[in-house]
Amino acid sequence: MLTRRGALLSAAAAALLLAAPATTKAADDLKLPRQKVELVAPPFVHAHEQATKQGPKIIEFTLTIEEKKVVIDEKGTTFQAMTFNGSMPGPLMVVHEGDYVEVKLVNPASNSMPHNVDFHSATGALGGAELTLVNPGEEVTLRWKATRTGTFVYHCAPGGPMIPWHVVSGMNGAVMVLPREGLTDGKGKPVKYDRAYYIGEQDMYVPRDEKGNFKSYDSPGESYNDTVEVMKKLTPTHVVFNGKVGALTGKNALTAKVGETVLLVHSQANRDSRPHLIGGHGDYVWETGKFSNAPETGLETWFIRGGSVGAATYKFLQPGIYAYVTHNLIEAVELGATAHFKVEGKWNDDLMTQVKAPSEIPPAKTN
């Protein structure tokens, strides 16, 4: 383990030497107000303005990397997670077009590996990955300008085979850059939401022992070789929302009220997905997540390309329990990709009614 860590650290040191020239600029040269935002763990989203009359700002976020062993299903299967701020996925960061995003990336000495972050919403330096590689015990600050609106993935990308492994180990999250005037339907009509939820879908690849039971490891490094073998087969053992099977069901089910419009931000940093709200729809859907394009309307299922984040709004019209799944139902039911919505309000008989409860088929009439 020490040898492996040593090798990882020297690789990181080499990368840092290459990156050195661009890291010295002070952040005070921009004459813009600063705003510090405390991030919250998914599925929740930090408070934000949907449209803003204020001018551009420098928005400050801190991402602290945490490597930790977690349980990912009800059978007690353990997983060597690597996380931004302790959650899988990392938190959703919301800014407006034209804002500057200033991210402090902290890699505490308690971690075993170097990490960095690639923002799909940022321009240059591999999304910032080349400028942010930090060893355990180091921190770095990166600033990028939010020039494009939409929902975007961010993920760790520390080079070569480390990239996919860190991403499927939990180091992925999303940024939402809102138009300053807010979302519209593409024809000028504002699209507003009453609640926003961030659902991070993740494919996981847990090695099994010779008897077929899932293996448990004491550190990420020890899990690496076996895990990569499973990853290369491209068949996940788990596909989950928010880090574990059942993270968004039961006591943790998402909630809404009839008449409320919910914004659902759905990321998949590595693999394709097909969100579907059973019993509901997507009113406005930015399937590719980019708000400069008009949203599609009235969808049943939408498609999230691996490495992207989609956004959809839905106004709940009927109370009850809804399942939000990826409509590869094998992945939803057998591998874990199911969330539940608990929606309270008044039932609408016009939209649906059970005309006659189940009963025996009457005997065929003769003559």
Binding site: E74, G246, V333, K342, W347
Partner: protein, 290 residues
């Protein structure tokens, strides 16, 4: 008041005196003592009595959903039922005999752990194997029997029906079922306590199969059943809450509805028929000798 019968003693009696009778073939396993490792499957006898029973299944009245009726059920005879769920090592003995289907590789085989991830068919196969081995008649309990034996551990799942808003019932049920702690790892026998009838680990994290079919009932205005239609491809399972599971499912965690809260584990315990002539004989002889 409960009585634990010692199968071992009962067998000794039968072996000594009933040998010449037609039961001889089943005594070739005279060394068999009910459990895989020589342990006995303890039976408790629940004294005759009553239970307030929320009827299982689905109910309609005048073509609309109706609440499940609560009925008083009397048991005029004592009920002999296993104190523990069938253990994984007891089940394994049936597998080793070439009769039962092997347990999933993730289930640990131990004398003090329940056999879990078993289907209704697996449970029935085990019951007939055990009956053959012992000369007793073992079977799954009916849902009524389970409720009677479970006593205070039986969860009344009655919910009112709001004709104007079906969602209230779904939400109430979802909240009730999702209120529970979801730690699905099977534990050692006794971890979930013993009820007032002496049955261990009821309503823990192992749900138990019953022989009761999923049935749709039509009720009259007085709440009495006019007609009913059973679907026996789906059976009632009992535990922290009642659930209905397709009979070939071994692991309900991934086999439930899109929005239900499924059982953590499927296991079972068996009723021993008191009407069996041979068990009656064995008991008589046992009593006569002691």
């Amino acid at each position: 008041m409960l009585i634990a019968f010692k199968l071992k003693l009962a067998f000794a009696c039968v072996a000594g005196l009933a040998g010449p009778l037609a039961v001889a073939p089943l005594l070739s396993d005279a060394g068999f003592r009910g459990g895989a490792n020589g342990t006995e499957q303890a039976i408790v006898e629940v004294r005759a009595g009553n239970v307030a029973y929320r009827v299982a299944g689905d109910f309609t009245r005048d073509g609309k959903q109706a609440a499940a009726p609560l009925r008083q059920i009397s048991f005029e005879k004592p009920l002999a039922i296993m104190k523990h769920q069938v253990s994984s090592s007891e089940y394994q003995a049936c597998v080793d005999d070439g009769v039962c289907r092997a347990l999933d590789r993730s289930v640990s085989i131990a004398a003090d752990r329940p056999a879990v991830q078993v289907s209704w068919h697996d449970a029935n196969t085990y019951a007939s194997w055990l009956s053959q081995k012992t000369g007793e008649r073992y079977r799954l309990p009916t849902d009524e029997e389970w409720a009677f034996a479970a006593g205070s551990k039986f969860a009344d799942d009655g919910l009112p029906v709001d004709d104007d808003d079906p969602s209230k019932r779904w939400i109430a049920r979802y909240e009730r079922e999702s209120g529970r702690n979801r730690d699905g790892d099977p534990r050692a026998f006794g971890s979930f306590g013993v009820n007032e009838n002496g049955l261990a680990d009821l309503a823990g994290n192992v749900w138990e199969w019953t022989s009761t079919c999923f049935t749709r009932h039509r009720l009259d205005d007085a709440g009495e059943t006019i007609s009913s239609k059973a679907n026996c491809g789906v059976r009632v399972v009992e535990g922290q809450h009642r659930s209905y599971v397709t009979d070939f499912i071994r692991d309900a965690r991934a086999g439930g509805c899109a929005v239900g809260v499924p059982p953590d584990n499927l296991g079972f315990r068996l009723v021993r028929e008191s009407s069996s002539w041979i068990s009656g004989l064995a008991k008589t002889l046992h009593i006569a000798r002691s």
